[in-house]
């Protein structure tokens, strides 16, 4: 497999994610479990014998969800309800909604009310990561989730299965990190759009298949890059609106690191194999870059962010704050102030596929690039 053909299974998965899940279900007779992304341990779903499938609401347009959820809800949550209401998610046997903000907490109850025939789980993640009891609490919550999923699939809970799933996902994360590195080295071949397709499809396809497809990619392909690219760091939740990464590519911005759930943040940290597999997952969770909305000692939160930006070599930072996301907006002023003091320019974009035009974003991002590029040697 080479050239454009090698990218085909990833694109097919992103274009029709539930078709991939349907094919898997027909082939294996297994259960398909959806999840609303942030920090849901896919390894636990996999070890229970189910197919974890990420549900990305962002980018979904529709007319049905607003009858069930307030209009001032972020497009990620709104879009998930919309997809459910128009039967795009009928293939799912269950859904896991993590508690990462007030919206997701309310979303779970709305979801459960709208789709009572699915096995729905509310994953109560700890909001305070540096609290002494966080690890113990999370271990109990992950164990509860593992038991619940095994009840759904009928497969006995087995630590060896979980350890094997963790090893598989670590291998997948390493491969995705490698692709991200290639994006920095060969941005004309490993475009942001292509690399994002790898990341998105990983969260939707059977991970064993995805890893095999990745091995067949043309890793040695090279191409001269005529564009002078400006390295940037992006903080946000999910890549929204659709086309934003393609826009960065065209304008000449190179994302050298990001904190997206659907981006680098999701693969930056491995779980490892040292000890009880649930403990391993808990340690991984607590060492992740704090998700927007998690509480941490404020100075530590800001200094940690600044260190990551400076360590990435980025010349500027873009905050891709989802429209109506209070948690993202809450952190941003402190982060911007720290960046300003460090002489790093930043730009806040209100991102959403609902009511935000990509053309408006283009003008802002172009001006931002112009602003940074003038300071470059």
């Amino acid at each position: 497999m080479n050239g454009e053909h090698a990218w085909k299974p990833f694109r097919e998965t992103v274009d029709a994610p539930m078709e991939r899940a349907r094919a898997w279900k027909e082939q294996t007779g297994g259960k398909v479990i959806g999840h609303l992304l942030p920090d849901v341990p896919e390894e636990i779903i996999h070890a229970a014998g189910a197919l974890p499938t990420a549900v990305e609401g962002a980018g979904t347009q529709g007319t049905q969800a607003q009858a069930h959820i307030p209009g001032y809800t972020c497009s990620h949550a709104m879009g998930a309800i919309e997809q459910g209401m128009r039967h795009d998610l009928d293939i799912l046997d269950g859904m896991i909604i993590p508690y990462v903000c007030d919206t997701t907490r309310n979303l779970f109850h709305i979801w459960n009310h709208c789709f009572p025939n699915k096995s729905n789980e509310f994953l109560r993640l700890p909001k305070r990561l540096d609290y002494p009891g966080a690890a113990e609490y999370l271990k109990a919550e992950f164990s509860r989730l593992a038991d619940s999923l095994c009840n759904i699939t009928g497969r006995p809970r087995d630590d060896e299965d979980l350890a094997a799933s963790i090893a598989l996902y670590d291998r997948s994360r390493a491969a995705l990190r490698n692709a991200y590195r290639k994006q920095r080295e060969q941005p004309a071949v490993w475009t942001s759009e292509r690399v994002q397709t790898l990341f998105k499809s990983a969260a939707k396809a059977p991970r064993e298949d995805h890893l095999r497809w990745m091995e067949a990619l043309p890793w040695d392909e090279q191409s001269q890059d005529a564009m002078q690219r400006v390295p940037i760091y992006v903080r946000g939740k999910v890549w929204d609106p659709p086309g934003i990464l393609d826009l960065f590519d065209k304008i000449g911005l190179l994302v050298v690191e990001d904190e997206m759930t659907t981006g680098y943040r999701g693969v930056a940290t491995d779980a490892g194999s040292d000890g009880d597999p649930i403990d391993v997952l808990v340690r991984r969770h607590l060492s992740l870059t704090p998700y927007t909305g998690y509480h941490q000692q404020p100075d530590k939160l800001v200094s940690g962010f600044l260190e990551r930006v400076q360590g990435s070599g980025a010349q500027g930072v873009i905050f891709l704050n989802p429209k109506f996301c209070e948690a993202a907006g809450f952190d941003t002023p402190d982060f911007q102030k720290a960046l300003e003091n460090a002489g790093i320019p930043s730009l806040v974009l209100e991102s959403s596929s609902r009511g935000v035009s990509l053309e408006q974003i283009r003008v802002r991002v172009e001006a931002f690039r112009e602003m940074i590029a003038e300071d470059l040697p």
């Binding site: 408006q360 003008v363 001006a367 003038e374």
Partner: protein
């Protein structure tokens, strides 16, 4: 050296021809549906005024929301960069630039070379853009060009609360029904718009001298309201302010072609 700058905007397309950094030709046509045609016509018009042919400009800079239609552009210039370059060309001490276009308003801080230091763009709706005054002039059945002078003739303070052009129009209709005079309503409209623009400018900070470009700079009502709201001695307006972005594109094309 001869260069051209073309600003293909939402409502009109403007071209400026520079010879050794002096303006020698201008052209302006409505953009309409066919942007490529508008670009060609405005360029031809400016070349004709300059007494030049199409082959003579050494470089062409394109800017505006339709900049992709400037197919001959050697340089594509971001709208914010173009406005800063033009402001510093007209007023070397300009450090804050306001550009109110038909559908978008922008503010930028710049340095002495016209480089962008910081910027903000209205992101909610047209309530801080030229289309707002146009909609209100229709509601008041007053020609657009009379709106500004009419506002200057009032000293009443009336607040318009709506943040959306459509809802603001309802509010204006309410004022009409309450027998409020046209001049007082016009002032309220200009004050409301200035308030929205200034709150955007304050996000990046105000550094005198303040320069306003774009077609709305012809409106003395909005210039006066902005001056008052900003708390500055004056807001400077260049000659033919609607050509400023095209001029900025031409200046950037000249700069990048020389280096």
């Amino acid at each position: 050296m001869i260069v051209a700058g073309v600003d293909c905007g939402a409502k009109s397309t403007k071209t400026v021809i520079l010879k050794d950094l002096e303006i020698i030709g201008r052209g302006k046509v409505p953009t309409g549906f066919d942007q490529s045609r508008a670009v060609k016509e405005s360029l031809d018009m400016a070349l004709k005024e300059a007494g030049l042919t199409r082959n003579e400009p050494a470089a062409v800079g394109g800017t505006g929301s339709g900049s992709e239609a400037v197919s001959d552009a050697d340089v594509r210039v971001n709208d914010v960069k173009a406005m800063c370059m033009a402001a510093v060309y007209y007023f070397p001490n300009a450090r804050t630039v306001i550009d109110v276009g038909a559908e978008e308003s922008r503010a930028a801080r710049c340095d002495e070379k016209g480089n962008v230091v910081d910027f903000a763009i209205n992101e909610k709706c047209a309530a801080g853009a030229g289309a707002f005054i146009e909609a209100m002039s229709r509601a008041l059945e007053t020609p657009l060009e009379e709106m500004g002078p009419l506002a200057l003739s009032s000293d009443k303070q009336i607040t318009i609360n709506a943040q959306c052009t459509i809802f603001a129009e309802s509010e204006v209709v309410g004022l009409i029904h309450a027998k409020t005079s046209k001049k007082d309503i016009s002032k309220a409209i200009h004050d409301a718009m200035a308030g929205r623009i200034v709150s955007m400018i304050r996000r990046i900070g105000v550094n005198p001298d303040v320069v306003m470009i774009g077609g709305l700079a012809y409106n003395p009502g909005i210039v006066a309201a902005l001056t008052k709201e900003l708390g500055v001695d004056h807001v400077r307006v260049p000659e033919r302010p609607e050509y400023a972005a095209a001029l900025g594109a031409a200046l950037t094309a000249a700069e990048r072609t020389c280096t």
